[in-house]
Structures are given as C-alpha cells and as structure tokens.
C-alpha cells in the first residue's frame, strides 16, 4: 500500500470535511434511531413507510422537507443575532468531535488538555441558545433561553467534577491517555466509585443536552421548544435538530471515552484485542446513545424548581464527595 503523501493543508481539509460530515450524517442516523428506539420502548412501531423498509428514510425526508421551508425572521427580532445564533450553537458542537479518540491514532487532534477543551467547548453552545432566545423577541424563547442557561450552569458543575475525577484517576488530561489508562473501564474500576461518577456524568450530560427528563428549557408543551420557537426551516434544523443529535452523539462519545474505556476492549483479554479499536469505540458510543434514548421515554419531565434543586442540593454535593473519594483512592490505593 503506497504511502499517500498529503500536505498539511490537504490533511486539514480532509479533517474538516470529516467533522462536518459527522454531525449531519449522525443527526440523520441518530434521528432515525431515536424514532425507532423510542417507539419500541413505548410498544409502538415508529415510522414504517418512508423509504419502504421500516421507514429508514424518515429523517432524510424530514431534512429535505426542512430545506424547502420558508426561512422566517420575525420583524421584532434582532436580525443579525437571530441569524447568527444557529451557527453559534452548531460550531461548538461540531468542535467537540475534534478531540474524541475513535482509535489509538484515529483522533483529529490529540490535545494535551483534551478533557479541558472538551468541557469548555461543550458549554459554549449555550451562548448561541441565549442569543437565539434573546433575539427572537418572544417571551417563550426568552424564558427557554434563560432556563437553558441556568440549567447549564447548574449541571456543568457535576459534569466537570466527574470528568475531573476521571482525569485524576488517569493522571492525564489527554483523552487518548485517559483511554489508555483504562485497562479496566473506569465504570468498573474503582468499584462503586467509578459507577457513581458515571451516573453523575450521565445525569449532568442529559441535563446539558436539555433532554428528557431535564428538558424544561425546550418543553414543547409549555414554552413551545423554548429558544427555537421563532425558528423555521434550515435554521431550525441547525439550532435544534442537528444540535440535539450532535450533542447526543458527542456526549455518547465522551461518555464512552471517559468511563467505558473508549477504543479499548471491554475487558483486558488477549483475544478481544483482535477487534479493531474503532469497533469498540462505536459499540460503546452506541450503548451510551441507547442509554440516553432509553431514558427519554421512561421518565417524565422534571419541574423547573425540582431540576434546580436536584442539581444544587444533591448532584453537586455528591460530585464533590466523589472527588474527595477519588482523591483518596488515587493517593492510597
């Protein structure tokens, strides 16, 4: 196999294209998966007709439909902010994928401060949500945006703290190093502690994604998709649909990387090494995504005050305690 020599620019273009492809394709596949998994969890069939076989083309048809929709900007809206908000939401989400290692060498940029970058960039999209809500000149949108911001502040802490605990366990901020450190997945080892960290992380991640049961900011039955009330067509897809699915897949990948051992086999056993790392990574990511999808039709929406109480009075103290325990584990075990 001849070596393909690529200049730095060419490599960059390929990387950008790959990342730009991941989110829309992921959104299409993930959207379909969400339809079907949720339907079967609720004892339904979900879409069955588009495309002929089990409605495989549903989300594709959805996307095409949105492409043809009129792009409406309300008169009272702050037009420039309003049009920029979807980009402000989407770009940080796309940038999350930069540092997630899909295999030993299959990572776009192995940053030394990977986990730090990850946590920083995953919060930035909330600024886009605030922009969207504020510029819409719509009360529902504003309420949704503020709820979203409040929720992010509340739930970012548990996520950051649990991720910090993982970094402590691995002794590195680089995601590739964190994966390499997991001969045993962190969810299994340290026993109990890893699982608790994982649960805190999952809870925080769901809240950050504003998914059910923490979807107060975009509660369709009371504030009509919150910050995205006024969006139509492609802007709506980018700000809501793609963002949601991009977030979902990104957090699936992050969870798989931090707690499920990423591209490593599930148990350190020789024969399992045959299976390429990317397969392990994708399997674990799918499991995480399934977990998120599984939670969605199972639980009812949490009220806004309950949501805040749960974060500040329970989840954050818990994660602080877990940090302490992790420190003890690292020091004395």
């Amino acid at each position: 196999m001849p070596e393909i020599a690529l200049t730095a620019w060419q490599i960059l273009i390929v990387k950008v294209l790959v990342i730009l492809m991941v989110v829309p394709m992921g959104a299409i596949v993930g959207g379909y998966a969400e339809h079907k998994v949720m339907a079967h969890l609720q004892h339904r069939l979900g879409p069955m007709y588009p495309g002929g076989f089990h409605g495989w083309a549903t989300t594709l048809a959805d996307g095409i439909k949105f492409l043809y929709k009129e792009d409406i900007i309300p008169d009272a809206a702050d037009k420039r902010v309003f049009s920029l908000a979807p980009a402000a939401i989407m770009v940080p989400i796309i940038m999350i994928y930069l540092v997630i290692p899909m295999d030993e060498s299959l990572v776009i940029e192995d940053l030394d401060v990977g986990i730090f970058y990850l946590l920083a960039i995953s919060s930035v999209s909330t600024i886009g949500v605030l922009m969207a809500g504020w510029s819409s000149a719509n009360k529902y949108a504003l309420i949704g945006a503020l709820r979203s911001a409040a929720q992010l502040i509340a739930y970012e802490l548990p996520v950051v703290l649990s991720a910090a605990a993982v970094a402590m366990l691995a002794g590195s901020l680089s995601l590739v190093d964190i994966v390499r450190a997991q001969d045993w997945m962190f969810i299994l080892w340290p026993p109990g502690l890893g699982l608790a960290l994982f649960l805190v992380f999952v809870t925080g991640a769901i809240a950050e994604m504003t998914r059910v049961p923490f979807d107060m900011p975009i509660a369709e039955s009371e504030i009509i998709t919150g910050p995205f009330t006024e969006y139509t067509g492609m802007r709506y897809i980018f700000s809501h649909m793609f963002a949601e699915m991009g977030h979902l897949i990104a957090f699936g990948g992050i969870g798989a990387t931090l707690f499920l051992g990423g591209f490593q086999p599930i148990v350190p056993w020789e024969p399992l090494e045959v299976i390429p790392g990317i397969v392990w990574f994708l399997l674990k990511t799918f499991f995480m995504i399934f977990l998120f999808l599984w939670i969605r039709p199972t639980f009812p929406r949490v009220r806004e005050d309950q949501l805040q109480k749960f974060a500040w009075k329970f989840l954050i103290p818990l994660s602080l305690v877990l940090i302490l325990l992790t420190g003890a584990w690292v020091l004395y075990v």
């Binding site: 079967h40 969890l41 004892h43 339904r44 069955m48 199972t298």
Partner: protein, 478 residues
C-alpha cells in the same frame, strides 16, 4: 389516605433511585416484547360484530313509522314518504293504505353513532355495519341516501351467538306461551308453545269437537267450529286440515306413538296430536324442549277454546299450587291464563274465514321425510289440507304454520301448479301476498331452525319475512 401514604413510604424505602431503575426495566421489557400494533391501511382489525361503523337500511323492512327519526337526538335522519292505496285484498273489502318510502337519508356529519335508531326500529330495518371508511372531502357527501344506506346492508353481519345461558330473545318459556296463546296477531313465535297447548288441550277438545270433526260439514262452518274448539292455537291448521281428510288423517296419525289414545275422538284432536307428534319428533331444538318443559301449565290454561275464563283461572291456579309455586306466582299465572282465555274466545272466530279448507289440494306428491325436509322448499305449502291426510311428517311446526297459509287467495295457484312438483308450489307460496304474515313468520322460523340457524338469526329472518309479508314485498334475503 393514610394507607396510601404508608404504601408510598414502603415503596420509597428500598433506596434512592431504585424506582428509576424499575422504570427503566419496564421500558426495556417493552423493547423486546412482541409488538401488537396493527398497521391500519395495510392490515385491518377484525372488528366485533356489534361495531358501530355505519348504519345500514333494509329498505323493504321500513314501514315509515318514523320512530328512528323521532328518536334521533341529532335529528340527522331524513324520511319522506307518501301513502299509496292498494286494491282491497278481497272482493268487497276495504282498500288498503300503505306507506311508501320516498327518501331515507342519514347525515353522518351530524350522526353521533348513538345507535338509538337501530335500537328503536320495530321492524329491523336498521342495522349496524362494521364499515367505517366512508370519509368524504365534501361534507354533503356524508348524507347517505337510501340507496347508499341499502348498499351497506351487504356488509351487515348476522348477530353474534348469544352467550351461554342467555335469555332467548322473545321466547322465554313463559312469554312465548302467552304470546302463542294470545293469538295470531302476536309477534312472538307461537309455534312451539302452541303445540304444547294443543297437547294439553286434547281431552277438552276431544270432548267438544267430535261432531264438528266427524261431520263433513260445509267448509266454513267446519273451519270456524274447529277453530273455536282448537282455540286460537292453531286457528287454521286444525280446522283447515280436518274436514275433507278426516279418515286419512286419522290413519296417518294412528301410527304415531302419541296418537293412540285419541284415535276415537275427533279429527281436531288428532290434528293437534299430529302436530304434537311431529314436534316431538324434532326434539333437537333446545328452545322447543324448553318451552315444552316450562310452558305446560300456562299453555294449558291459556288457550282452551271452550273453557270458561273463570274455569281456566281456577284450574291453572290449582295446577300451580300443585306444582308448588308460591301463591303470588300461582295467582299471577292463573290471571294471565284467564286473560288469555278471554281473548281466545273473542279472537278465535276472527281468523276463521281465512281458513277455508282446501277442496282438493294434491297431496300425494309430498315428500315423506319431515325434518330432513326442513329445507324451506320442502316444507312449503304442502301441508295444506288436501284430500290426503297430513301425515305426521308434515305435522312439524313448519307444517302446522303452513296450514295457516291455506288462504283462499293461495288456493287457485296451488291447484294450478303441477301436483308433482312440490317445489313449484312451495316457491309460489311465499310470493302470494295473501299469506298471513304471522304464518310466514312461523314458517320461516321453523325453516331456519330446521336449517340449524341460531335462534337469533332464525328470529331475525322470520321477523323480516313477516314484515315482507305484511308489506307485500319480496326481500333480497328471500
């Protein structure tokens, strides 16, 4: 309340977050369960027979009584009709008036599918159908005119079989007897109880009617006489049959087991006996047996032609007491019997003219297998009292009711048809409009039973046949 709270506490006890896991387990279980969704346009559910889909109209059953339209809470039924004057049935009779349905429409845009119209229809002209796919783009199309409503008839299912132990529609033993005894005008199915009463009556009848039967009196006189003697139970059957065929019927009846004691008495007695024996030979109908078993005392009291109502009262009262009925029940039954007896005296004479005995209906060709000939054709008008005796075979319920059909109007036709082809005669019979509706009812009922139809279906078809006979129309259902 306190209990609930304690239960809640219990449920909360096991530990924080366990409820969440339980919930997740539930949804996960559903993920692997077999899915029972019906993909509607592709697959269709087999809806129950009582589904309220669309209302079908059996036009020929409709008498324009307007009950449905009046009861409709939404006023969504539109009925137009005009009166038509028909020629009198008989020479010198009164011209008859009849309602002709011009328009029958249901506006399904208004209809709320309460089904009151179907419930209230006394002539079984409205039915529920399971069809429900008749949405339209134009609201005006939702008004179904009678043609469309009649088209829905093709989709109407027969009613589902009754549940185990359910009361039979229209014919619990007591009421059936009452109806049977009450006379030809009654809408109940009188055939079986009528036979019972006939059996019961034997002694009295025999005592009263020897002269009538033995003497070859003029037909009319004989008919009316025997009518009275037999009570209204078999108003025309006994009367019509006996006159010219006395010896023959005697002979025929003679070989039935139950007939022996009555050999020496009048033909009327024999006739009823023949009926009895015939009915005994068809014990497969549970209803019949039931009626036989339960109806005897009432039947006995109900229709003794010559008996004084008060005597009937006393006798039935005594019977009931003997049977150990409670005083109230005994008295009530006796009163019922008295009323029936009174009515019987009054109404017994009325149907007589219709029961002219047939001078000479060819009877030889009658197929001799009775219940197996339960096919409608076979038990057509044959049993008409011909010169040949009605053998016990045709003394089935059907035959008995057939006898009633020996109306004057029918006779010429009967004679005209070839004696060798009973089917021809049979098929002619239902079409002759002169057939008494009640007789039609009984005949069809017996036919249906012989065919093995369920009681509900048999009753329904018999009712429909009666209505058709009343209206003089011929329905598609035959």
């Amino acid at each position: 309340m306190a209990v609930d709270e304690r239960k809640l506490e219990e449920a909360r006890k096991p530990g924080f977050g366990l409820g969440l896991l339980k919930g997740m387990a539930v949804t996960l279980k559903h993920l692997f369960k077999h899915n029972t969704v019906i993909q509607y346009p592709d697959e269709k559910q087999d809806l129950p027979a009582r589904t309220r889909g669309v209302i079908a109209l059996k036009e020929e059953n409709c008498t324009v009584c307007m009950l449905c339209g009046r009861e409709c809470p939404d006023w969504c039924i539109y009925i137009d009709s005009h009166k038509e004057t028909l020629a009198p049935k008989r020479e010198g009779g009164r011209p008859r008036k009849r309602n002709v349905l011009d328009r029958f429409a249901i506006d399904y845009a208004l209809c709320m599918y309460c089904g009151i119209c179907v419930e209230v229809c006394p002539y079984d002209a409205l039915f529920w159908s399971r069809e429900f796919e008749y949405a339209e783009y134009d609201i005006r199309q939702l008004t179904h005119e009678k043609e469309k409503l009649s088209d829905w008839m093709a989709t109407v299912l027969p009613p589902p079989p009754l549940e185990e132990g359910a009361e039979l529609p229209g014919a619990p033993a007591e009421t059936a007897t009452a109806a049977g005894a009450a006379g030809a005008g009654s809408a109940q199915r009188p055939s079986s109880p009528a036979q019972d009463t006939a059996v019961e009556e034997r002694p009295q009848q025999a005592a009263k009617t020897p002269e009538a039967a033995a003497a070859s009196a003029p037909p009319e006189a004989l008919a009316s006489e025997s009518q009275r003697s037999a009570g209204e139970v078999q108003p025309t059957g006994a009367g019509a049959a006996q006159a010219p065929t006395e010896q023959k019927s005697e002979a025929a009846v003679g070989d039935t087991t139950t007939a022996e004691p009555q050999q020496e008495i009048g033909a009327a007695g024999e006739q009823s006996d023949a009926v009895k024996s015939g009915s005994e030979r068809t014990p497969s109908k549970p209803e019949r047996k039931e009626a036989e078993a339960a109806a005897e005392p009432q039947g006995a009291g109900g229709s003794r032609g010559g008996e004084e109502p008060q005597a009937v009262y006393e006798r039935v009262l005594q019977e009931q007491r003997d049977r150990g009925s409670s005083p109230q029940v005994a008295e009530a039954r006796a009163k019922v019997a008295r009323v029936k007896a009174e009515r019987g005296l009054r109404s017994a004479v009325a149907p007589a003219p219709a029961a002219k005995p047939v001078p000479s209906a060819p009877q030889q060709t009658r197929p001799s297998e009775p219940e197996s000939s339960g096919a409608p054709e076979a038990s057509g008008p044959e049993p008409e009292p011909g010169p040949v005796a009605p053998t016990e075979e045709e003394a089935t319920p059907a035959a008995q009711s057939e006898a009633e059909e020996a109306t004057p109007a029918e006779q010429p036709q009967e004679e005209g048809t070839s004696p060798e082809s009973p089917e021809a005669g049979a098929s002619a019979a239902p079409q002759t409009s002169a057939e008494d509706p009640e007789a039609v009812y009984e005949r069809v009922l017996a036919e249906e039973k012989a065919k093995g139809s369920s009681d509900a279906v048999a009753t329904g078809r018999a009712k429909a046949a009666r209505v058709r006979a009343q209206k003089g129309t011929k329905g598609p259902g035959g």
